[in-house]
Structure formats: C-alpha cells, structure tokens
Symmetry: none
Subunit: 207 residues, 4 copies
DNA sequence: CATGAATGAGGTTTCATTCAT
DNA sequence: CATGAATGAAACCTCATTCAT
C-alpha cells in the first residue's frame, strides 16, 4: 500500500504500528492481514517496490547504452542510483536497514526469494556494464561482479553516511555532491588508462 | 557491559530484552537501570566503545606514519577499519543502524554529544591523512574531508553489503576481499599520477 | 465501568492495579486502554459520575423548590449531599482526594474541563439557592458563592472527618448525625432573624 | 526529618521516592530505614509533627482564656487553625489525605496510637472551649465534642476546598477569607442569644 | 552508625494478531 | 471482503527494601 509507505517513512519500522498504517490506508487493522501475513512482510513488500524500481532503471541503462565511454557508463549508473534515492529516500534507507537485520529471518520463503532474485538481478545487470567495459579494454581486469558489489556498497554507504551526518550534526544533505565525488573517484580508479584531461571537477564544498 | 554486547550481537536491538541482558550479566533488571538510563542508552554506550576503538586505531596511524607512500596510507586505513570490524562485527553493524535511526532521538544530550564528538574526531583524523597526501602532491586536489567521508562510506557500505549477501544468499563472508578491492580502486582513483606498475593485485574471484 | 468502581472502592487509587480491574471487569488489561488513556483517567472518569449525580440532585432541588422556607432549603441540600454520599461513599472520598492532588495534572484537557465544568455548575446551582434566600431577606447578606463554597466545604470536611474517625478509632459511622448538626448550625448561622423556637433538636451525643 | 517534609511537600506522597528524601537529607537510603520502619511511617511521622503543633496551639488557647466572650473564643480557634495551615500548608493537606486512606492501615501500632492520642487530645481541648461556653449559657446546648468535630471538619473542608479551587480553576488562595466567613457563620450558629450588633463583617470579595 | 549497590517483584502500557460478525 | 473490539503476552521501567561491608 502506498499509505503504508508514508507511515514507515515517517516513523520508522519499529515505531510505526499496524493501526497507524490501517488508519492511513483508511482500512481496519484486520484487513491488512488479508493482504500481508504480518508486519514484517508488509514492510518488506515496500522494500521490494524500490528494488524493482532500481532494476527497471538499471535495465534501461544497459538497453540504451550505445554510448560507450566508461565515464558515461558510470555517470549513468550514478544518475540511476540517485533517482532511486529521490524516488523515496526514507524507504531506501529503511531498506538498507532491512538488509542485514533480524527482520529478514521472519520473512516468508516466497518473499525472501523475491528479494534474493531482485538483488541478484540488479547486481548482474550492473556487472554487465562493467564486463563490457573490461572487454573493451577500458576498465581494469577485475571481476565484474566484484565491481558491481563495490558500486552498490558505495551507493548505500554514501546514502547512510549522509543521513547519519544529517541527523547527528544537523547538516543539510550533501548526498548529490558526495555521491558525485565518490563515483568520480571510483570511475577513475577502475579505468585502465588515465583519463586524458586529468582534472577533478571540483565538487565544490562537498564534504 | 561486555555481556550486553553478547546479547545485542545475538538478537539485535529490538529482539533483545533487558531481562535477557540482565540474565547474561548475572544481574537483576533493576541494576541495569542504575548504570543506564534506558535501553537505548545502554545500546548506544556499546556503539561508543567501538567508535572509541576506531579513533584509537586512526590516531595510531597518523602518529606512526613516517612511511609516506599514498598506497601505504590507504592500506593502513583499510587495515584499521578491518580490525575495527573484527573487533566486533555485529556491534559495528548495529552501530551503522544506530546512525540514521529514530533511536538517536531518545539519547541523553551528553551521550549524543559524545557520539558527535567521536564521529567528527574520526573523520578529521582521516581527513588529515588525505590532506598530507594532497600537500605532497600525491593525491588529487579534492577536499580532504570529502575524501574522508567517502572512505568511511565505502567502509560501512561494504560491511553492510557483505552482511546482506551473507543473510540473503547464505554466502560466506568475503568482506576482506571486497574491502581490499574497494580500497585499491579508491586509492588508484585519488592518486594524481598513475602507479608505476598498472596492475591490480587480482582480488581472486571475490565478489 | 461499574467494575472499576468496586476495585477502587476496595483498594484505593494506589493499591488497585489495572489487572485487578481488568479481572473484575472480565476483560483483559489491554482492553481497558481502549477506553481509558491511562489509570488516572479511568479513575477520574468515575469521579465524574459522582459529580454528575450531585449536579442532578442539586438541580432537582432548585426546580422543585416552591417551598420557600430557609430551613427547608438547607434541609434539602443536606439530604442531597447525604444521598450523594450513600450513592457511593468510597468513591466520594476518593474524589475528595482527587481534588487537590498530583493526579489532576495528568488528566487529558477534555477530562479536566469536564471536571471543572461540573464543579462550577454544582457550586452555582447551590449559590442560587442562597441568592434567593438573600433576596427574600431570610439569609444574611453574604456573597452567595461564598456560602455555597462553605456548605460544600462543610460537607466534604464532615465526610472526611467521620471517615478518619472510623479508621483511627474504629468508631461506627455517625456521618448522618454530624452532618445534621453541622447543617443546623450553619443554617442558624446564616439566618437573618433568629428562629422562633430557639431549640437544637439534640443530635443525641453523637460525634 | 525536616528534609523529608520538603520532598513530600513538593512531590506528594506517591511521587516522592525514598531516594529523593535521602538525597535531600544528605543521607543514604539505607540510613532512613534505621530511623523509620518504612515509607508510610516516615510520612506519618511528619503528620504527627503538625498534629503536635496544633495541640500546642489549642492548649495555649485554653490556658490564656480569661477572656470569656464566645466570639473571641471562636476567633482564637480560627487563628490557631490558620496558623497551623501556614506552618506548613502542603503537609497539612497531605495529612488530611492521610486520614481516611489505605496508608493508615500499614502503620505500626505505636505510631497509630500516637496519632489516635493526638487526634483525641486536640478534639477534647477544643471541646472544652465549647463546654465552657455552654456552661456559661452562651452557646447552644449541643454536645461539645460534636461541636468540636464540626469545627475541625469545617477547617479541613475549607482547606481542601480552597486547594481544589486553586488547582482546578487556577484561582488564587482565598483561604483566609473563606475560613473567616465560615467561622463567623459557625459562631453565630451556635450562639444562644443573637449577637447584639447583627452585622456580618463582610469578608469582602471572598468566595 | 552509616552506606549504597543490588534487588526483583510488580506496575503500567503497548501492539501484533485474531475472530466472530 | 471487511471489520474492529478484544486479546494477552511481553516489554520496559520503578522503587521500597535489604544486607554485606
């Protein structure tokens, strides 16, 4: 339910109650249980939606990628990930929490399979981008899945990192800039031959 | 308390009860409240210990760094972070959850200040490493604090990412290798002049 | 709930537990919280019922008072108050404790307003009785609200006083007699012209 | 302890903890139990102090009462009671709550006896005032103990009543005026022959 | 005499879940 | 399909009291 998203976004997994969600959805608590086996499953379903969106974006990149330049490939990846973030920041963060937590253990097998599949799919799509780059001799000869894992890690790391700074230090959100610099560094780090123009489009003021 | 760590590590923040912890510590529930204002504060105190350990490790690097080579600098950073992970993997993961969550809002001001301080201190120590590298003309002319943020993000991202794969796909833990590759890429990405031997100490098949 | 009244009456505000009440009401503890925000609010709701009963009795007096004699007026008041006492002695005493206690500060605004309103209403109804008596030249020219406050004080004072003697000295309850004498004295004290027959229907030695 | 008084005054019987009191007294919780069997007993001891003060004041009246006039007698009583109130308003109110509550049942026999004795003593001293007035033909031929009970009831009723108004309606404290009017009415009500000058020293603005 | 750390029973309250309608 | 009142287990937390020092 789109309404559940609002509630989880606002209160977080633990503080949100089934009644809150039911109220927001203009349903009764009992009705929620007709559609979702339990609270965790409801929450996870939402995580799946964002994973699905991520997959769609990633596949769109591989399809429309006549443009061969490594930098553009990485740039496209970055844009996709940033869009996923903007699609629903709080749910994305919640999903990063979901990964690696006790919640995962309560899921129904089907749901867990679903998540597995989407996760692997997104990794593989990403990996294909790097594989092509490697074949073309543009990227270093590293295992493409490893590289895919690393960009994903960078993405989630930066998102959580910025969120953490936002809460702890009351800073504003520099996600876009930090993500930009991180991907730039990453891109340069995996290119085989140094870029022609050495610069570092200074990501001004970013922390 | 060392006992609380065990319980939180095993059950996670939400599933662990104060009674569990008390039992593990061979104390009564009431006694816990003599030392910690509430459950969140007990949990956060543990996070602080790991942040403190991180800081000690980082400072140790800056102090003993007669060795100037950029690659060594990054390598030392990586080693420190990996040690922090091994110091207590589950608590580290829990701490990444703590950052950016509703829990932070219930903390006593002192505790929150404590966390802020440790966070900032670790960032600044890291930033100094990069600042020196930049001055020496070895690293790209990027804001050192931004670079520090990025390594930290890479670190937490990789940790969570590996943890997530471990739970979802039942894979074993490739953290060390993934972290290795990630830092290598990062190091190469921020070096001003390309390394002499272009290689990529192949991170054997690791994902 | 009528069941809560029984428990509070028997054990008092502090010793009565929500579980006691739930058991008496043949409900589960959780269910109580569907209807009452917390323990204090449940308790106060009961106090309101007795205030409501008091108001009904007082209004009934003003309405059916064709009989003009001052002594009858006071007599009617006394009867009303005594009936309120008999309606539920322990809750009345509890209510006197509620007034002027820390409990009042935890109430929801609506409930507090409700209590305020009922309190003021009962005072005003009483005051009107005196106002008429004053207009007719039967009662002394004192502020009617002040007189109303005084009868109310006498009422609560006598109730608590008798209760206290009952507990401390194990005496039986002479409330009716003490109240009778008190009101007689009061009535004589506010009459403008002395009563014809000076007597004092001897309140047979009771204290 | 004079320190316990402060704590009970500020927080009330239930909200005040033994540790609060110990801290205020600059003692340890354990030490309190060397002097008082339990919390209730500590609380009651304080009530006793105010009862003792009341007794002293009452006895002083009977001793220095060469002045025979009934109005003066009552006036002296009123002054004594008002002084007791001012001696420590909150403890007096707490004591009125103590009377007629479950607390009384937990007291040690000695303490209970002590309270009984003081209570009865103060009643009897008061009763003697009225007895003399009756003998002299000034007061109506009512049982003196009954009259004593009534003044006591008026006193406690008015105190609680004013306190209640103060909390519920945020009015300021009109105790002195209300008490003044109440005693005036009472005094007139028990006099056998009407006072020469009929007036009612208007207790201006009193409610 | 005094301490104060430790207790642990017991209180209030929450909320995911169910089931009769 | 939907309801929503009721559940009741279990959580967090308090605090009067004790006892080894």
């Amino acid at each position: 339910m789109v309404a559940a998203k609002r509630v989880f976004s606002e209160k977080g997994l633990n503080k949100a109650t089934m009644e809150d969600i039911a109220k927001e959805a203009e349903l009764s608590p009992g009705t929620l249980y007709l559609y979702f086996k339990n609270k965790d499953e409801l929450f996870s379903s939402l995580s799946i939606r964002i994973l699905q969106y991520l997959n769609i974006r990633l596949e769109h990149i591989t399809n429309t990628e006549g443009e061969k330049k490594p930098r553009d490939r990485i740039e496209a990846l970055k844009e996709a990930m940033y869009d996923v973030y903007e699609f629903d920041p709080v749910m994305l963060i919640n999903m990063f929490h979901l990964q690696s937590s006790e919640t995962l253990k309560n899921l129904s097998p089907e749901l867990l399979d679903n998540i597995k599949e989407l996760s692997q799919s997104s990794i593989q799509t990403t990996a294909r981008l790097f594989a092509e780059g490697i074949e073309e001799g543009e990227f270093i000869d590293e295992h493409p899945v490893a590289l895919a894992g690393i960009v994903w890690a960078i993405f989630s790391g930066v998102v959580l990192w910025e969120e953490s700074k936002r809460i702890i230090n009351d800073e504003k959100n520099y996600l876009k800039q930090t993500l930009g610099t991180a991907f730039e560094v990453f891109e340069r780090g995996i290119r085989k031959t140094p870029a022609k123009k050495g610069g570092s489009r200074k990501a001004d003021g970013s922390t």
